[in-house]
Amino acid sequence: MPAGLGLYHVTVAITAAIYVILAIGLNIIAGYAGQPSLGHAAFWGIGAYAQALLVTRGGLSFWEALPLSALTAGLVGALLGAISIRLREDFLAITTIGINFVVVSVFLYTPFFGGSLGIGGVLPPTLGGTALTKPAYLGLVALVVAGLAVLDIWLRRTWLGVGWTALREDEVTAETCGVDTRRFKIIAFVLGTALAGLAGGLYAHFIQFVEYRDFGFPASVAILSMVAVGGLGTLRGAVVGAVLLTVLPEAFRVVSDYRMLLYGATLVLVMRYQPSGLLGPGSWLGRALDRRLVHPPRRVEPRPHLPAPALAAGSDGRPVLEVRGVSKRFAGLWAVRDVSVEVRRGEIVGIVGPNGAGKTTLFNVICGLLPPDGGQVLLDGRPVHGLRPSEIARSGVGRTFQITRPLAGLSVLMNVVVALGHAHYPRPWRRLRRAADPAVLERAWAILERTGLADHAHVPARALPLGMQRRLEVARALALDPTVVLLDEPLGGLAAAEIEEMVALIRALRDEGRTLLVVEHNMPVAMRLCDRMVVMHYGEKIAEGPPAQVQADPRVQEAYLGRLGVR
């Protein structure tokens, strides 16, 4: 170590490095995957206690015990991940506080964990027979930090990282893009808490005395503050935030009486004036850095010999999608009641009906967002009802939303890339492949060209006007290479010229052999567009057939115009 670095500095540096590991772990959970966690210190404690017990009572060495400590914390983290699937955002946040209190009480009230005395006698680790000095230990911890930083950067670029981002931006959209959000949440919790456990193991040998007090709710708040002040969702933010908020209170020692006041005020001011953190994507510094360092992927001109879709064109009369007697009830009200629809390959089928007829509910049942209360949905003769939305999406059902649901913070290009990962998401090892490789980007650009979005590829999706958001919905659905596309009011709110473009796009999709189901309010356009129409009213199918026949049906006229004349 350089001269002048006293033991005090080394101690502060080790503390900072351990907080960096904690912050990197929490950033995976809260930043990348977007899951609130206010109990991260519990897992730090679990790691520290596991390490202390394994070393002092289990007779393991530092090196043998460290992976086991991380594993222990990760396993408990998996439990929290499982809970996170059931609970909505704020309920989950409070539950994580609860877990922190419960874990600390277990340490405090269980003799096995040494009660209020904690566990002492955790000696510094030895390497080749000699005990590591404090500066040497700092070197070791710094190495771990460097390794984790590399791991983090790599993970961010894999399909796993892409799936997490989608999950953070919009869970429902992520599912309809083929991301099994439940699995991705659990992986984030396991990985993040395992890192906390690793930090705990390292901390136990640094402090040499493990005590419940260090791992309480205030510590969780401190770790979360580091990530938030640095910049949630960025590695640089987690690292800088952890170092800053470890060193800052030390610097405030000069004015030690005002330490906590200054600390609290720092949190308030940073959140108020740099809400995405000092180095977050939207902050002054973050934007300046991104301008210099981040280069969006260049536009790829699609090669002319791009493989044509492997779908046979034209209708062969075989049903692709069968909805058989599907019902869905909300609190006693039938939103969809005993509806059956058969859709043949290469058809454009319109689902029309007045407001509240149950059209969108039917879509939600088909794509798995709502479980049906009765009936079956078959895709290519295979039942898909009861599957996760992501499974249905991956088996070839793309959908768009009436109220557009872009992954708002991602660029238009990345919105499409997310859905292109559908083949990778379910397979653990393929998830670890790099996401935006040249082949994927080429396909993404091709889809953007086709939907007329290529000139806006790098714009954040939230900044798109409605017309383009509608096209982005279609682009995302196309990225799934779907056999069936469910379009929920794709023309809603569009200008006349945009309507013509969209109609042309929908026809082109049919012509390449895709099957389309369209909910549409605009009757003249729907009549022109659809090969066949299904009319719904109060949740029931009241008519079905070619547009002209449906239009002439008296029940349909009644549903739309009301009963004419007096009763």
Binding site: A30, G34, P36, I83, R86, L87, R88, E89, D90, F91, A93, I94, T95, I97, G98, I99, F101, V102, V104, S105, L108, Y109, F217, V221, L224, S225, A228, V229, L232, D257, Y258, R259, M260, L261, Y263, G264, A265, T266, L267, V268, M271, R272, P275, S276
Partner: protein
């Protein structure tokens, strides 16, 4: 014995309820986990004890506490919460936690680290009914807490602004579209919620004869546990959960002895949420 414990529990529960109702009010219109509510509550305790020391009037103590806390809460929502509403939920939460930390330290710096005695002279003596004894402080909690809850209830259910709050909690854009003045409604909401917290601060100060910088640290997170238990956003749920928690804690501690009290509340919370993810009285 058990009845006495239930009465003691209800007293604490009533104080929890006044704090938690304010917290739910704020959550309802802003969707923010308002940790700094506990700081506003401690502020009420300090304003109350300072006023009482100078005037020896409990009425004035309550008046300054409710006014001061209400104003402080209003400033917080105007300066910190409203500008952060479009941010991820964690941003106002961290700001709120930071504010709580700063307030706690501010109280320590201004009034000293030790607890101040709040020995108010109450105009009544202990009241014994059968085997149950109501202490003067308990009677004060009943005499102040019940009307406060009733007033809040009346505002919520019988006034136009209460209707606006419920509309905002249900569907903010729709509420705004139907002519709710959002800024005014939110301001009044936080004002009332914070005033309730201030009154609760005085009640706690008198009840335990102590006002101290850290008096908010337990309500800070226990308040959150209560409103979640009640089913986030449900006003009746929050009050019911507060009373229930007060009673359960008192009875459990009375019968079992020393317990990890806070962990118990959270363990119950986790268990209940696993069975009913929407809380005891929440809607899905």
């Amino acid at each position: 014995m058990l009845v006495q414990q239930v009465v003691n529990g209800l007293t604490i529960g009533a104080i929890y309820a006044v704090v938690a109702l304010g917290l739910t009010l704020v959550y309802g219109v802003l969707r923010i986990l308002h940790v700094a509510h506990a700081g506003i509550y401690a502020l009420g305790g300090y304003l109350g004890v300072a006023t009482y020391a100078r005037t020896h009037s409990l009425v004035l103590a309550f008046a300054t506490a409710t006014a001061g806390s209400g104003a402080a809460g209003w400033l917080v929502q105007r300066w910190i919460y409203l500008p952060l509403l479009s941010q991820p939920r964690i941003v106002p939460l961290i700001a709120s936690i930071g504010l709580y930390i700063a307030l706690e330290d501010l109280f320590r710096l201004v009034a000293g680290p030790y607890s101040l005695a709040f020995s108010a002279r109450l105009p009544v003596g202990p009241l014994t009914m059968g085997s149950v004894t109501f202490t003067p402080a308990q009677l004060l909690v009943a005499a102040v807490g019940a009307p406060l809850l009733a007033v809040a209830w009346w505002v919520l259910t019988r006034t136009k602004v209460g209707l606006a709050w419920r509309a905002l909690a249900d569907d903010p854009p729709m509420a705004a579209a139907t002519g709710v003045d959002v800024g005014r409604a939110v301001g009044l909401n936080v004002l009332l919620g914070s005033a309730l917290a201030g009154a609760a601060g005085v009640l706690v100060g008198v009840f335990f004869n102590a006002v101290e910088p850290t008096m908010g640290s337990v309500p800070a997170y226990k308040g959150l546990a209560i409103i979640v238990l009640g089913g986030l956003g449900s006003y009746a749920g929050a009050v019911a959960a507060a009373l229930l928690l007060g009673v359960v804690e008192a009875v459990a501690i009375g019968t079992v002895g020393l317990l990890p009290r806070d962990a118990l509340a959270f363990l119950a919370l986790i268990a209940i949420l696993l069975v009913r993810p929407q809380g005891l009285w929440g809607r899905r």
